[in-house]
């Protein structure tokens, strides 16, 4: 097990290090100027030098992402539960959720920026893209419960509430957590897209706005530095939600149980 564990950590780290090394070599050998392609060293230096500006922007983006994710989770769970209670409601409301999901958020953002104050519009964009996977997975999870278990609850006179709370919600946990993991990444994407849209309208202070701004000024190293921060934020969000999933399913679900060989 230890050998496979080392492989699981060491291999990605080694591959990443090799890629950075290759990037550095390409820049050095071709003597590329930083305004075309900065090397990894230059990007790191910019990250440190511009940290006051970038950290503030990172904080803004992260807080919008977190708010959007929380609202998407609450909204997706609530609507998923409502939909699972009645076919009538499901058939009436689900099309709206689908329309909202399939319409590209970049296209909705300008409208939202007209109707809503800018921070609200950014939050709304992030929420729209993060909401659907939570809803879809909650609905799927709640509807995939072993029907014999549902019968068993009925046999013992369980109320609708008991079936939902003691049977369907725990049974849907794996799907809901998978939806959350997708929603985390999408919330970040939604926030960035909206910020870019808002940025072109001349307002905003998140990481995406800093990227757009640095682009106008041809400050390529800062664009890269901000990009690195965005990627890192996305990876951290994904890892955090994976850890949450692992923690909640550790005792029982096949997806987390390691079979001993």
């Amino acid at each position: 097990m230890t050998a496979s564990r080392i492989m699981r950590v060491a291999l990605p780290v080694a591959a990443l290090a090799l890629a950075i090394l290759a990037w550095d070599l390409v820049v050095r050998i071709n003597a590329l100027p930083p305004y075309l392609l900065p090397g990894p060293g230059r990007v790191a230096a910019t990250l440190v030098a511009d940290w006051p500006i970038l950290s503030e922007a990172l904080w803004v983006t992260l807080s919008i992402t977190a708010q959007a994710l929380i609202l998407a989770t609450v909204g997706g769970l609530a609507l998923g539960i409502v939909l699972s209670q009645s076919r009538l409601i499901e058939h009436s409301l689900y099309p709206f959720a689908v329309i909202l999901q399939v319409t590209p958020v970049v296209a909705i953002a300008p409208l939202l920026l007209i109707y809503l104050p800018q921070p609200m519009a950014v939050l709304a964009c992030a929420w729209i893209v993060a909401f659907f996977p939570v809803l879809a997975n909650t609905t799927l999870g709640l509807n995939s419960v072993d029907h014999n278990l549902v019968d068993l609850y009925r046999l013992y006179g369980a109320s609708r509430w008991q079936v939902l709370w003691h049977l369907k919600m725990p049974a849907a946990q794996p799907q809901i957590l998978a939806g959350l993991r997708i929603a985390g990444g999408l919330a970040l994407i939604g926030a960035v897209v909206a910020e870019i849209a808002a940025g072109s309208a001349g307002a905003g202070s998140g990481l995406a706005y800093r990227i757009a701004e640095a682009g106008y000024r041809l400050n390529i190293p800062r664009m890269f530095a901000a990009l690195v921060l965005l990627s890192a934020a996305g990876v951290v969000i994904f890892l955090a939600l994976s850890a949450l999933s692992h923690l909640m399913l550790a005792r029982w679900h096949e997806s987390v149980i390691r079979t001993e060989s």
Partner: protein
């Protein structure tokens, strides 16, 4: 129908039951059944003959299209009917204790009451050491024991079992058969056991009802009046003879053309 050797009061009567599903399948037609308090009854028949449907009607999980389900001594309250499915049907996120405690929790029993009853029931089915285990950590036979414990935890008047041992290996099945007979003796619960195994039905029950192919009805009965059900009985000439009669009864029942009703 042959005479009952068990003279207990009638617990349940099914009269002229017809059950048709939405897709046009008629699972039961002209199905009659009388169940005596305290007896061990087997419903024997091939797959798809409506055995499981009959069990679901008794449990109240489905309603008959026509006919009556009568409870002469009053309809059962929740918890007075236990059900064991073909699969263990356990909640994988809950440990053995929580799975077995489910019927009591749903009935709103107090914590201390639940704990003592669950502990006692687990001991009874031989799972005393596995109270904190999760279903995935258990073998197929042990999962089925948990399922049986869950069905027994409310001390039901009636225990319905739908081919519970069908997926188990023969050694495990024999052991669970013996334990089931012992539990039935101890608890005095009425049991309806659905199976497609002649040998199992003869070994376990006081009365075997053979069913016709779909749409199912009771074709005939075999009474099994033996003092003991143990390894000696399983290897006895009597057992072999009863199995032969059971097989013949089942063959005759299956020879009834589908849809042919008197």
């Amino acid at each position: 129908m042959t005479a009952l050797q068990d003279s207990g009061a009638t617990l349940l009567s099914l009269r002229g039951i017809r059950k048709a599903y939405g897709n046009g399948t008629v699972a039961l037609e002209g199905f009659d059944l009388d169940l005596r308090e305290g007896e061990f009854l087997s419903l024997l028949g091939p797959s798809g003959c409506g055995k499981s449907t009959a069990l679901r009607l008794i449990a109240g999980l489905a309603a008959p299209t026509a006919g009556q389900v009568l409870w002469p001594t009053g309809a059962p309250a929740p918890g007075s009917v236990g059900f064991v499915f073909q699969e263990p049907t356990l909640m994988p996120w809950a440990d053995v204790t929580a799975n077995v405690a489910l019927p009591l929790r749903l009935a709103g029993r107090t914590r201390t009451e639940v704990d003592s009853t669950v502990g006692e029931t687990l001991e009874r089915v031989g799972l005393g050491d596995f109270a904190a285990a999760y279903p995935r950590e258990l073998s197929g036979g042990m999962k089925m024991r948990v399922s049986i414990a869950r069905a027994l935890v409310t001390r039901p008047r009636l225990l319905l079992m739908d081919e519970p041992f069908g997926a188990l290996d023969e050694i495990t099945r024999f052991r669970l058969n013996d334990d089931l007979v012992a539990l039935w003796r101890d608890l005095g619960t009425t049991v309806v056991f659905v199976t497609h195994s002649v040998f199992e039905s003869v070994y376990l029950s006081q009365r075997v009802l053979a069913m016709t192919p779909r749409p199912g009805r009771v074709f005939g009965a075999l009474d099994i009046d033996v003092p003991r059900r143990d390894r000696e009985f399983r290897t006895s000439v009597d057992y072999a003879a009863l199995c032969r009669r059971g097989s013949r009864l089942l063959e005759d029942a299956m020879a009834v053309p589908a849809g042919d009703h008197p």
